[in-house]
Amino acid sequence: MTTNVTKQDVGPESGLSMRNVIHKAGISVALLGLIIFFSVFTEHFLTPNNITNILTQITINLVLAVGVTFVILIGGIDLSVGSVMAFAAVVAGKAMTLPDIGTFEAIAIAAFAAVIAGTICGFMNGVVSAYWGLPSFIITLGMLNIARGAALHVSNAQTIYSFPAAFNAFGSAMVFGVPLVFVVALCLVFLAWFVLTKTVFGRLLYGIGNNEEAVRLAGHPVFWYKVAAFTICGLTAGVAAIVYMARLNIASPIAGIGFELNAIAAVIIGGTSLSGGRGSVIGTLLGAFIIGVLANGLILLGLNDFMRQMITGVVIIIAVILDYYRAKYAAK
């Protein structure tokens, strides 16, 4: 139908503005709904202990998802984060259990080793997929296997344990009833939010996700920006490895199988578009909460494992459908 309204149909708005505010509100409403539902129908949901549990339980996924957000924002995907986390963990575990080494040094070396191991994996993902322009889906699928194999190789498939008590204490430490590891994750979220919205780097990542060629023709080194996004994702996998070790006091080479899918789910539920260019790390935070609250609440509800899995799947799909409508309404 043609009218004399010259304005075109208004497209989806920026990742930085109104649309996202509306969007985030939508996700928050969904989260709030879940919280109210579980508070009403389960006895223990809204107890301090359970809240602490939820915060602890979502931490690893949140840390991984923050990194994955960067990659998805540039229109890529990273399937390797679970394996990279395991690799980083066993490298760090080896470092931490080195003989004849002081407690503090052991922890410092291990933490450094985890972050470096993760960063290297992410960097390789980025360089290979960006240099040859290959789909990151395949490259990171390769890295999923490489990192898993490396984790098994380095550890000889043995679980590494007996870490210093000081390190283990970090995993269970609380700050005003909030797990320290969650506070670390929250700092990471804030940092990522700042980088994505307040810096030239973040702006250009959104730009690349939307229109890579336009950014390239504006004179920006797109290759390095892409590599950086993947590297950040690897780095957060390294951080997640430290959190994993601190929480469970082991480094298992078979840790993190399937974690990449949970991380991606958190990002997508959080409203970041799989095709890139749209979304926010605040959304990812809410997405991780939705997954964590659901996992926790459904157990408290006493639902059996299989029903739980089905409902989680249904909720993911509903979240994405809701996002579709929100995007549509936001555009009007």
Binding site: T3, V200, N210, A214, R216
Partner: protein, 521 residues
């Protein structure tokens, strides 16, 4: 040409006597939106009448009213002196008013004949499809408009776009038509196909059918139409005899501004030193070792003409460092340079307005301000941290310079019209104060008003001493803008025309290789 004939006809025609349709003070609202707000005009028997206006000016609504898609709110329409208020498209057809839409309504898998007879399939005595009769009718319909080379039994799918359109016209004309409305018929046609369409329009006209021609291309309007009615904001501004008016006047009516004057004013400017010099410059796609050699001076607008595939876009991308160079040199201000990427080209003062703003020029989801600053991040940040206030200010200033129409500077650029989107692309590069500006199809998909504005901007830049290199497929555009036109074919320069020698014919001959400089003839 048919055009010259029609001028005479228009001039000689007796006013009211020949009137077939008369529209007076027609109004139509959609909810609170006024689509038509006082439209008055008339059609004469056997004339070709153009309707022009910017997008959304009301042309399409009028067509839909005349063809029975919408009823109108108020006003009068008379057809052959009787009140005309079609209840449905079928009713409109019964009155002899036919529309050929921009989007085709053909059934791709059926034959041409089946498509032509789709509304009334001929039947045999036994109620079966009479395909002999159907084919005969289709043949007659095609012959009537001179489409003798189309087999009525072949499926529509196998025809080119141009032929599909002609088949639609044939279908529209097979029943008794008095008024044939063509809604942007040339939008998807090549130049040759367009010529063929115009021949057919001439034939139709000679049969006494009135043709209403909706187009964005003024050169077409001036080529085949007898009269033109200009729409603006749901109103008819003026109806003129083509013979008595000029394209500038029509544009002035359309935009309501004296842009044409501004453009003419900027005509004379000084040409300075050589800004950019290409020597045997060869991109990877070019089959010729000698490549392209070309100088562009400050204050000069050099146009590049050529057919699709002539290597125009590749040449521009090569200059900008976005395409690998096989051999040859670039000199900037007489100094040899090598660009390893757009970044280097930008650093040396070159800016590139790309052909396809949706794929290469803009980040549609992002705010206007973010798009404007995309190539100038340093100016809107300190140490890598964005300064949103600076960015907004920069974009607002740039927008004001280019008369950008927008709601908020933080609105996504996708919310703008095509012309304003193109202005954002221009703003992105102009805030860098480029010394050399290269543009690939700078006004594609932009309506006439915005086109004129963009021409004025480019002229002003040349006057300010910027060297401009413009690729365009629209010859009037090059002839309006350029100081000289270089014609490219198959990655080679086939010739160069100074402003004094500009003509579409000469450019085309060079582009088609019929007039090789120092060549075969």
């Amino acid at each position: 040409m048919a055009a010259t004939q029609s001028f005479e006809q228009a001039a000689n025609s007796n006013l009211a006597a020949d009137e077939i349709l008369h529209v007076d003070n027609l109004r139509k609202h959609f909810g609170g939106v006024k689509a038509l707000d006082g439209v008055s005009f008339s059609l004469r028997r056997g004339e070709v009448h153009a309707l022009v206006g910017e997008n959304g000016a009301g042309k399409s609504t009028l067509i839909k009213i005349l063809s029975g898609v919408f009823p109108y709110d108020s006003g009068t329409v008379t057809l052959d002196g009787a009140p005309y208020r079609p209840a449905s498209p079928r009713d409109a057809k019964a009155h002899g008013v036919q529309v050929v839409h921009q989007e085709f309504n053909l059934l791709n898998h059926l034959s041409v004949a089946e498509n032509i007879s789709i509304e009334a399939m001929p039947k045999t005595r036994f109620g079966l499809l009479d395909s002999a009769e159907m084919n005969r009718r289709a043949r007659a319909a095609l012959d009537a408009i001179g489409l003798r080379d189309v087999d009525v039994r072949s499926s529509v799918q196998k025809l080119g776009i141009a032929y599909r359109q002609l088949v639609e016209i044939a279908r529209a004309l097979q029943s008794e038509s008095r008024i044939l409305i063509l809604d942007e018929p040339t939008a998807t046609l090549t130049e040759r196909e367009t010529e063929r369409l115009f021949d057919i329009v001439g034939k139709i006209k000679s049969k006494g059918v009135t043709v209403v021609f909706v187009s964005h291309h003024l050169e077409e309007v001036f080529g085949i139409c007898d009269r033109v009615t200009v729409f603006r904001s749901g109103e008819t501004i003026a109806t003129e005899n083509i013979a008595d008016t000029k394209p500038q006047d029509v544009v002035r009516h359309m935009v309501g501004r004296e842009l044409a004057a501004e453009m003419e004013q900027a005509e004379n400017h000084k040409v300075g030193d050589v800004a950019l010099s290409l020597r045997n410059f060869r991109v990877a796609q070019s089959p010729h070792a000698e490549g392209v050699s070309l100088d562009i001076r400050y204050g000069e607008i050099v146009g590049i003409a050529g057919l699709v595939g002539a290597g125009r876009t590749e040449l521009l991308r090569g200059i900008f460092g976005a395409e690998p160079i096989v051999s040859g040199t670039i000199e900037r201000d007489g100094v040899a340079v090598q660009f390893s990427g757009p970044r280097d080209a930008i650093a040396s003062g070159i800016s590139f307005v790309t052909e396809d703003r949706k794929d290469e020029g803009l980040i549609l989801d992002m705010p206007i301000a973010a798009n404007v600053s995309l190539a100038s991040m340093k100016r809107v940040s300190t140490n890598g941290f964005l300064r949103p206030a600076n960015e907004r200010k920069l974009a607002e200033e740039a927008g004001a310079n280019l008369r950008l129409k927008y709601g908020k500077i933080t609105d996504p650029v996708a919310s703008l019209s095509g012309g304003n989107q193109q202005k954002v692309v221009l703003a992105k590069w102009l805030i860098r104060n480029p010394k050399v500006l290269i543009l690939d199809e700078p006004t594609r998909g932009v309506d006439v008003g915005a086109k004129a504005e963009i021409y004025a901007i480019l002229k002003r830049l040349a006057q300010d001493g910027v060297a401009l290199l413009v690729v365009s497929s629209e010859m009037p555009e090059l002839m309006t803008l350029a100081d000289r036109v270089v014609v490219l074919a198959n990655h080679q320069i086939r010739g160069e025309l100074p402003r004094a020698e500009f003509s579409q014919e000469k450019i085309l001959k060079l582009a088609y290789g019929q007039e090789n400089q120092g060549g075969k003839r």
